[in-house]
C-alpha cells in the first residue's frame, strides 16, 4: 500500500480509555543471549545488607529501592544483571551486561511501560510484570506499535546503571 499522509482521528471513546503504551522486547534468556551470545549463566542473586545499601546510595547518588538484585555470573567472566526503574511516567525492566573488569558492555531494554503515575504506585498493576515467562519476542497491549512524539528521557536508566556500577564495586567485585 502506498504512503498517505492522512490523519485518522480516533473516536472519542478511545481517548477516554487510558492507553498505556507497553512493549516487551526480551525475556531474561533472550537478553542474556543478546548481550553474551554463546555463554552460559549461573544465577548469583545478591541480597544487600543495609550497610551495602547505604554505601551504594552514597557512591552513586541514586536511591536503592530493592534489597535484592537479580545477578548472573557469565561463563568466561562478566556479569548479567536484570534491574528495573520507575519514573513518573514509566516502568522499565532492563538488562545490563558488565565485563569482567566491571565496565558496561551493553544495555538492553526488556520491558517498557509508559503510563500515568498512579498506575505505577498500584502494587497489583506492577505485579503483572513480575516473573514473565513469555517466549514471544514482542507483546503489545493493542495495535499501537509505533508512536511519533517526544518520548521520555532515559535519565532513569542512566541513574539505574550508575547504581548498578556502584553495586558491582561494593557487592560483586570481591
Amino acid at each position: 500500500m502506498k504512503s498517505e499522509f492522512v490523519f485518522i482521528a480516533l473516536p472519542a471513546s478511545a481517548l477516554i480509555a487510558p492507553s498505556a503504551f507497553a512493549v516487551q522486547y526480551l525475556t531474561v534468556e533472550q537478553a542474556q543471549h543478546a548481550i553474551f551470545p554463546g555463554k552460559s549463566f549461573t544465577a548469583a542473586p545478591v541480597k544487600l545488607t543495609s550497610v551495602q545499601r547505604k554505601a551504594i546510595e552514597q557512591a552513586s547518588g541514586v536511591r536503592v529501592l530493592h534489597d535484592e538484585q537479580q545477578v548472573w555470573r557469565v561463563s568466561g567472566g562478566g556479569w548479567f544483571i536484570v534491574d528495573e526503574v520507575v519514573g513518573k511516567h514509566e516502568f522499565i525492566t532492563y538488562a545490563a551486561g558488565l565485563t569482567p573488569d566491571g565496565s558496561v558492555k551493553q544495555i538492553e531494554i526488556m520491558d517498557y511501560r509508559e503510563t500515568y503515575g498512579d498506575q505505577i504506585r498500584d502494587q497489583k498493576w506492577r505485579a503483572q510484570f513480575v516473573g514473565k515467562t513469555s517466549k514471544s519476542t514482542l507483546k503489545l497491549d493493542s495495535d499501537i506499535k509505533n508512536i511519533s512524539g517526544a518520548t521520555l528521557s532515559c535519565r532513569h536508566i542512566t541513574d539505574g546503571v550508575k547504581r548498578l556500577l556502584a553495586c558491582y564495586e561494593i557487592a560483586l567485585k570481591h
Binding site: M1, L26, I107, T151
Partner: protein
C-alpha cells in the same frame, strides 16, 4: 502483504538521551540481529559525535575551539552543520542551533561555562574545506533539534547495507520506515501524552513530532520549553504538537521546529522539501494540515 513466515525482531536501547527502538523484518534471525546491531552502532556514533554533554564530542570541541581557531570534525558532523545552516537560512532564523545559552539558563542543557557573545548568530558559523568548522564570534551550538533525525537516517542506511529489507527506526518519537509495507504511526495527544490522538499511514518515509508535554517547566513563574523561535528567542508555551513527514528523518526533525515558529508561513519550505505537516490542537484535533504538492498521494481526508 507481509508473508506469514517472515520474522520480526525489535530491540530497544537507551541512546541520544531517549529510547531508541529498531524493528527489522525480512530475512533470517541472524541477518536481522546483525542489521540491528549495525543500526545501533550508527546511532551510538552520532551520539558520541554530537552530544552536548560529552566533552569529547565534536559539538563540545566546536564550542570550545571553533572560535577563534576552527575545528576539524567528522564528515557526519559537518553534514549536520551544513544542513542546520541551510535550515536557518531558509527559515530566516526560526530554526537555530545557536540558542543553547537560553537552554542552559532554563536548565535543559548543562552549563559548560563556554564563552559566547550575546549578539552572535548562526550567521557567524562558517564551514570550510576538509570538514573544518569555524565560528567568527564566540557562540554555542547544540544539535539537539536535528541530530536525532540524522541518527535515524544513518541507522536506516546501516540496516539496509546489512541486507535488512524492511523495518522502522524510532528514536524517541522521530522515526523512519523502510521496506515494501506501509505502517500505521500513532500520534500522541498534545495534552495527555500517554493517550493517542490519531494515526497516519507511512511507507518509505520519516516522521517527527514536536510537542512540549514532557518538557514544559517553570522558570521564574513562567512556563518555558526547549522549543524556541530562533528569531525572537520566544519559547513555545501552548500544549499543541507539530508533526512533519518527509523522505529523510533529519528534514522532518528540523522542519517540526520551523512549523512551530512559522505555522502556515512554513508552507513554502515544506513544499520545497516535499514534506507534509499536521498541527494538533489542545483537544487532539488537527487545526492545520499541509500536503506537499508534488506527489501522487490521496488528497486530504479528515475522518
Amino acid at each position: 502483504m507481509r508473508s506469514r513466515s517472515s520474522i520480526e525482531i525489535r530491540r530497544c536501547r537507551p541512546l541520544l538521551g531517549t529510547f531508541v527502538e529498531i524493528t527489522a523484518r525480512g530475512g533470517d534471525e541472524r541477518l536481522l540481529a546483525r542489521g540491528i546491531e549495525a543500526g545501533f552502532d550508527a546511532i551510538a556514533r552520532v551520539n558520541r559525535l554530537m552530544s552536548f554533554h560529552d566533552p569529547l564530542s565534536d559539538v563540545s570541541r566546536m564550542n570550545r575551539e571553533a572560535f577563534p581557531k576552527g575545528v576539524f570534525v567528522h564528515p557526519w558532523t559537518w553534514q549536520v552543520m551544513r544542513a542546520a545552516k541551510r535550515f536557518a537560512q531558509e527559515s530566516h532564523g526560526a530554526f537555530d542551533i545557536t540558542v543553547a545559552p537560553l537552554l542552559t539558563k532554563w536548565n535543559y542543557l548543562p552549563d559548560r561555562c563556554y564563552r559566547f557573545s550575546p549578539t552572535s548568530t548562526w550567521g557567524d558559523i562558517f564551514l570550510r574545506r576538509h570538514y573544518e568548522v569555524f565560528f567568527c564570534r564566540n557562540l554555542i551550538v547544540d544539535l539537539g533539534g536535528i541530530a536525532k533525525g540524522f541518527a535515524v537516517d544513518r541507522a536506516v542506511e546501516a540496516l539496509k547495507d546489512n541486507g535488512v529489507r524492511a523495518g522502522i527506526v524510532n528514536a524517541g518519537g522521530d522515526l523512519r520506515t523502510f521496506g515494501p509495507d506501509s505502517q500505521f504511526i500513532h500520534l500522541r495527544h498534545p495534552v495527555e501524552p500517554t493517550r493517542i490522538a490519531g494515526a497516519v499511514r507511512l511507507r518509505e518515509r520519516a516522521i517527527a513530532t514536536s510537542g512540549i508535554y514532557f518538557e514544559r517547566r517553570k522558570h521564574h513563574a513562567q512556563y518555558v520549553s526547549p522549543l524556541l523561535d530562533g528569531r525572537s528567542g520566544r519559547t513555545v508555551r501552548e500544549l499543541i504538537s507539530v508533526t512533519v513527514a518527509a523522505a529523510e528523518c533529519m528534514v522532518a526533525d528540523a522542519l517540526t521546529k520551523v512549523v512551530f515558529a512559522l505555522r502556515e508561513e512554513a508552507a513554502c519550505l515544506l513544499a520545497r522539501y516535499r514534506a507534509d505537516a499536521l498541527l494538533l490542537e489542545r483537544d487532539g484535533a488537527p487545526s492545520w494540515m499541509f500536503h506537499s504538492p508534488c506527489d501522487t498521494r490521496d488528497r486530504t481526508r479528515f475522518d
